[in-house]
Amino acid sequence: MSNLTEIRWHGRGGQGAKTAALLLADVAFQTGKYVQGFPEYGPERMGAPITAYNRISDTPIRVHSNIYDPQYVVVVDESLLEAVDVTSGLKKDGAILVNTQRAKEEIIPHLKGYEGKVYIIDAHKVSMATMGRYFPNTPLLAAIVKVAGIMDEETFLKEMRASFSHKFASKPEVIDGNMAALKMALEEVR
């Protein structure tokens, strides 16, 4: 299982962390991988912390537990840096991706001494510029695909267009905005 990639998402109810995890499973599946994407719900209400998970592997996945030692962590809402131990178990040779408008140097002190790589993206800026509304999960999805090297950008964008065409079949007008958000996020993550 050395080819196994494990990702943990921290978000708040309503921000789309679960949807992002399911979309990531979707797009990784399209490239021939074995995948899992699943949420862990706390209280069922808007704003409550939720966790979602991805496993991506070249071999079938049988384990059905949550992920405690991920290679990658995505923080959808930076207020969770204080509320949740987001770096718990995070591998040193992995990385954390934080959605923030602040500079990386300002985020690092909040990561409890995490020694691995730190990436940031301003998903608010990307989302407002491309979709006119705040949907942080679309930019974060693109950013983690790049950070974790899950697939090349061209394949990712091609598969995502197909996925959005299916998901937004009843409102095709939002597809272009979502695609623009993915492309901009691939540039903006750093």
């Binding site: 499973a25 899992q36 699943f38 719900y41 069922e44 384990v63 059905h64 537990s65 405690y68």
Partner: protein, 393 residues
């Protein structure tokens, strides 16, 4: 031709139901099973099925309507979880005693209280003596495959009993995983048309369903129900054999993983079996003879076959995802231990309560169970046989 896809467990069951195209589906939503009727309602709206979909006002009514439709001669089903199943209680017994072959897609969730939306088996375990057939799944593929096989078992003329197709709430119901789907035609041909022998809406043969029966016949009626149950094991095996020809996937009454030379074994139901398989692979690599017996058919309980499969193990841990409040274990523990006793087994057996209300089960947890079993063999003493896994004291 199989279609590779990735679906949540709920979506997989909903797609199986679309392919089956049942006659009547009354439904009332409850987490985590809500998505099944939700997806299905879209199939109805899109004209992909011609099922009569009936939104009702409670689970008591959804089961009542499914019973009424089945008695009338229709292929019917509903879906539910937890308190929804509890609210169907009296109707479950009516479905079974009237020998109605309807299906229930059950997404296992803890019963209150404390109120909890996550997985354990307390809901379906409480219904284990209601006269329903119960089949459980480890993952989304099995939930789908079991749903496709359900009516062939339930409607079989030697059986004619309702069937509960169970999967673990959230852990499989809301997890997207890889899956292989059959073509619509393959499912349609496999399941076949439902042609009931006796039904209410048959003017050629007027009949009563669910009449009053006092002391002179009640016991014979219950004995007849038991006769139907006696045939289930063979029918499950026959249907599985035919299903393997269509799908290439093999099923039995239970699955044996690394059991051939196992000295210690775990018996369990549901999604944690996959986690246990990973623990077994790890321990096997260290040369440890550990195995898993995963229950698929829980009602009726294939006691003799299970005892036979466990006949060479020195120690066994039976894992219950539900309390029994007997002060000595849970329902699976009681059934497996009684099977071992009947077979005069010498195995040392312990019964664990685990995973209540969604408490996570890790590979490491299952490794610790196997380590305990090794210690039990070494001491030649089971010690306390009623244990809890992962409880904070």
């Amino acid at each position: 031709m199989a279609k590779r896809d990735r679906l949540s467990g709920n979506e997989a069951v909903a797609i199986a139901l679309r392919q089956i195209n049942p006659d009547v589906f009354p439904a009332f939503p409850i987490t985590p099973s809500t998505e099944i009727p939700q997806y299905f309602a879209s199939f109805v709206a899109n004209g992909q099925v011609d099922t009569e979909f009936i939104p009702v006002e409670s689970e008591h009514s959804s089961m009542s309507a499914a019973i009424g439709a089945s008695a009338a001669g229709a292929r019917s089903l509903t879906a539910t979880s937890s308190c929804g199943l509890a609210y169907m209680w009296e109707e479950l017994y009516i479905a079974a005693s009237n020998r109605l072959p309807l299906a229930l897609a059950l997404v296992n969730r803890a019963l209150s209280g404390p109120i909890n939306i996550n997985c354990d088996h307390s809901d379906s375990m409480g219904a284990r003596d209601s006269g329903w057939i119960q089949i459980y799944a480890e993952n989304n593929q099995e939930a789908y495959d079991n749903m496709v096989q359900a009516y062939r078992i339930s409607e079989h003329q030697d059986v004619r009993l309702p069937i509960m197709i169970c999967q673990d709430g959230f852990i499989t119901s809301h997890a997207v995983e890889n899956i292989e789907l059959l073509e619509d035609d393959e499912v349609k041909n496999f399941v076949g048309e439902y042609r009931p022998e006796n039904y209410l809406l048959n003017p050629e043969c007027p009949m009563a369903v669910g009449p009053y029966s006092i002391t002179d016949y009640y016991m014979e009626a219950k004995r007849n129900q038991a006769e139907g149950m006696k045939h289930v094991e063979q029918v499950v095996l026959d249907v599985a054999e035919e299903f393997a020809k269509v799908s290439g996937r093999e099923y039995g009454l239970f699955e044996e993983y690394c059991m051939d030379d196992a000295e210690v074994a775990v018996v369990m139901i549901g999604s944690a079996a996959g986690t246990t398989k990973d623990a077994i692979d790890k321990l096997r690599a260290e040369g440890k003879k550990v195995g898993l017996l995963k229950i698929r058919l829980f009602r009726p309980f294939p006691a003799d076959a299970i005892a036979k499969a466990l006949s060479n193990v020195k120690a066994v841990a039976i894992m219950d995802r539900a309390e029994g409040y007997t002060n000595h274990g849970g329902p699976l523990g009681a059934d497996v231990m009684s099977a071992l006793f009947r077979a005069r087994s010498q195995a040392l057996a312990v019964n664990y309560i685990y995973g209540l209300g969604g408490r996570d089960v890790r590979v490491e947890d299952m490794e610790s169970i196997f380590a305990t079993l090794e210690q039990i063999v070494k001491n030649n003493d089971a010690g306390e046989t009623y244990r809890y896994l992962g409880i904070r004291e």
